[in-house]
């Protein structure tokens, strides 16, 4: 079609334009497809070969699959989310497009939320598809037992991604240099997935019982990875396998609703902080 005959698309809001760009970028570069396939394969392998150590190779029930998947997903999803959002400001600065955005009549909220929405969908879609499609196979093979826990696992995994995406936005806004963003991202991942729990267990030993089990569980809520774990294990009724907590009394207030609320707080707090910091640093 000749250019003169071409009718341009109408414009949309800055929020929608940014969200659409972020998601379509990841669709085009096959990021969404690759992660979907990765999660699906992981689920099938865990579900089918999960009992190989005991000499049995077949699809396990959903509860056991959720337990195994949880222990793996706590490493993968934070890493993916932190990688996805860590460069959100540095990339724009490197391209010199950040000044174009900032010299336009766009608000800090539109910029941060538009970018966040696009990346959140980019992470949520492969999480939902990658875990749900094998979930249907599991449903057929092993029946409806623990189906509810599998649904919670899928939704909770999406939420875990959102949490670390929010943290990655804060990291991205905090540091001007890409190398510092990358370094800090690695530290954040190590801290929440490995160091925090090791430190907590170490503290439990060092304090020789001064820290009550209830306090210990409350401390776990300060780590979104542990909140994710507790929520998944709560639904499959296997507290006993949770980090040696077999003898720990879980406080009565640690209900799923509280855990979801804590997760929601972990999504909103870093995102709000990144919004305020972005506004302070970049919007004159």
């Amino acid at each position: 079609m000749a250019f003169t005959e071409q009718a341009y698309k109408g414009t949309t809001t800055p929020f929608k334009a940014l969200a659409h760009k972020e998601f379509s970028d990841r669709l085009k570069n096959r990021w969404v497809a690759a992660i979907t396939v990765g999660f699906a394969l992981l689920t099938i392998v865990v579900a089918y070969f999960g009992s190989a150590a005991s000499g049995v190779v077949s699809f396990r029930n959903m509860g056991a699959t959720v337990a195994s998947l949880t222990s793996l997903v706590v490493y993968f999803i934070p890493m993916l989310a932190l990688t996805l959002g860590g460069g959100v400001i540095a990339d724009e600065r490197d391209r010199h497009t950040l000044d174009l955005y900032l010299s336009a009549p766009i608000t800090a909220a539109e910029f941060i939320l538009g970018k966040y929405a696009g990346l959140a969908v980019s992470l949520a879609v492969p999480s939902l598809l990658g875990f749900s499609i094998p979930g249907l196979i599991l449903l057929v093979k092993s029946g409806f037992g623990s189906f509810g826990s599998y649904v919670v696992f899928v939704v909770n995994s999406v939420a875990l991604g959102m949490v670390f995406l929010s943290i990655s936005f804060l990291t991205s806004v905090m540091f001007y240099e890409r190398s510092k963003v990358i370094g800090f991202t690695v530290l954040v991942w190590l801290f929440f997935t490995i160091v925090y729990d090791l430190g907590l267990v170490g503290m439990l030993i060092v304090t020789k019982g001064a820290m009550t089990p209830a306090m210990f569980v409350v401390m776990l809520l300060l780590n979104p990875v542990d909140v994710y774990r507790i929520l998944n294990f709560t639904t499959i009724g296997e507290y006993s396998v949770l980090m040696g907590l077999s003898s720990v009394d879980i406080p009565g207030f640690i209900r799923p609703s509280v855990l979801w609320a804590v997760t929601a707080m972990w999504i909103t707090a870093p995102l709000l902080a990144s919004y305020y910091l972005f506004k302070k640093r970049y919007m004159a």
Binding site: F3, Y8, R95, D99, L102, S103, A104, P105, M283
Partner: protein
């Protein structure tokens, strides 16, 4: 239109811009010249609302810009940064559609300009395949998307070939004929600035050393005019004219290859020309040139 009053910007202990005061007049093309590190970029960023001045104030049509006003003000600004690589995975059209949405503009508003800058084939291609010149053309198109009243151009012809450079200025002229567009042109290409702008500001070490038309600037600096006379062959070899020039206060008089050159104080211009014209048989032609922006620039630095 836009007035800077004693605007100062510190980066820690470093004063990037110091007590800059000047006014951009509606519809003018204003040149901003200065070496690297002179504070030009900081001043442009303050103008765009990208950074906040430490001291001083900015007024738009006589009203001081407060924090809450910046967003509305940005709506009337078009900005063409010096280096922008855009997104390699988007086509030219997709890039313009994205920034039209961000800026609240429309591609249909500047359809004719887009057509002149980039062909439909180029627009349909991914920006990753663009040459530097194509990216600059796309850059100009995005700057005009919101039909701005103030257009800030940072080294706009960097990477453009002569055809692209002429096209850029033709488009600016066309837009300025249609509406009162104020243009701020920051460039190291002094000859280009000199040719295009109505007024110029020269920055040095964060200070706006001079602002005005080129004529005002060289008069202010008391820079001499340059006279070149092509001497008649077989005559006095310029000796007669040399004496006249010398007596009238010209300096740096030289003769070579049939040409006499001299520098004249501005105030003696008419008297000296009258004296020379009395010696018509001594020369074939002459040229009187006012100092270039480059000479003004080096006069200040």
């Amino acid at each position: 239109m836009l007035k800077f009053e004693r605007v100062t910007k510190y980066y820690g202990e470093i004063k990037a811009v110091e007590e800059v005061s000047f006014e951009l007049l509606e519809g003018e093309m204003f040149g901003l010249a200065g070496p690297n590190g002179s504070g030009k970029s900081t001043l442009l960023k303050i103008m765009l609302g990208l950074i906040r001045p430490t001291e001083g104030q900015i007024l738009v049509n006589g009203v001081q810009l407060k924090d809450k006003d910046w967003r509305e003000f940005r709506g009337i600004i078009g900005y063409m940064p010096e280096r922008v690589s855009f997104y390699d995975n988007l086509t030219g059209i997709e890039t313009l559609e994205l920034f039209a949405s961000i800026k609240g503009g429309s591609l249909n508003n500047i359809k004719d300009i887009i057509q002149r800058l980039l062909t439909s084939d180029v627009l349909a291609r991914k920006v990753g395949t663009y040459s530097k010149g194509m990216r600059q053309r796309l850059n100009l198109a995005q700057a005009l998307l919101n039909d701005p009243s103030l257009l800030v151009l940072d080294e706009p012809t960097s990477g453009l070939d002569p055809i692209g450079t002429r096209l850029l200025y033709d488009i600016l002229d066309a837009v300025r004929q249609r509406k009162k567009l104020t243009v701020v042109l920051s460039s190291h290409m002094l000859a280009e600035v000199e040719e295009k702008v109505n007024r110029v500001g020269i920055m040095k070490s964060g200070i706006l050393k001079a602002v005005g038309t080129l004529d005002e600037l060289y008069r202010g600096l008391n820079l001499p005019l340059k006279l070149i006379i092509i001497v008649t062959e077989g005559g006095s070899q310029g000796e007669v004219l040399w004496e006249i020039l010398k007596n009238e206060g010209a300096v740096n008089i030289t003769y070579g290859s049939g040409q006499l050159t001299a520098e004249l104080p501005v105030e003696n211009k008419l008297k000296m020309l009258a004296s020379i014209l009395e010696q018509k048989d001594q020369f074939v032609d002459f040229t009187l040139r006012q100092p270039s922006l480059e000479e003004v620039f080096f006069g200040i630095h």
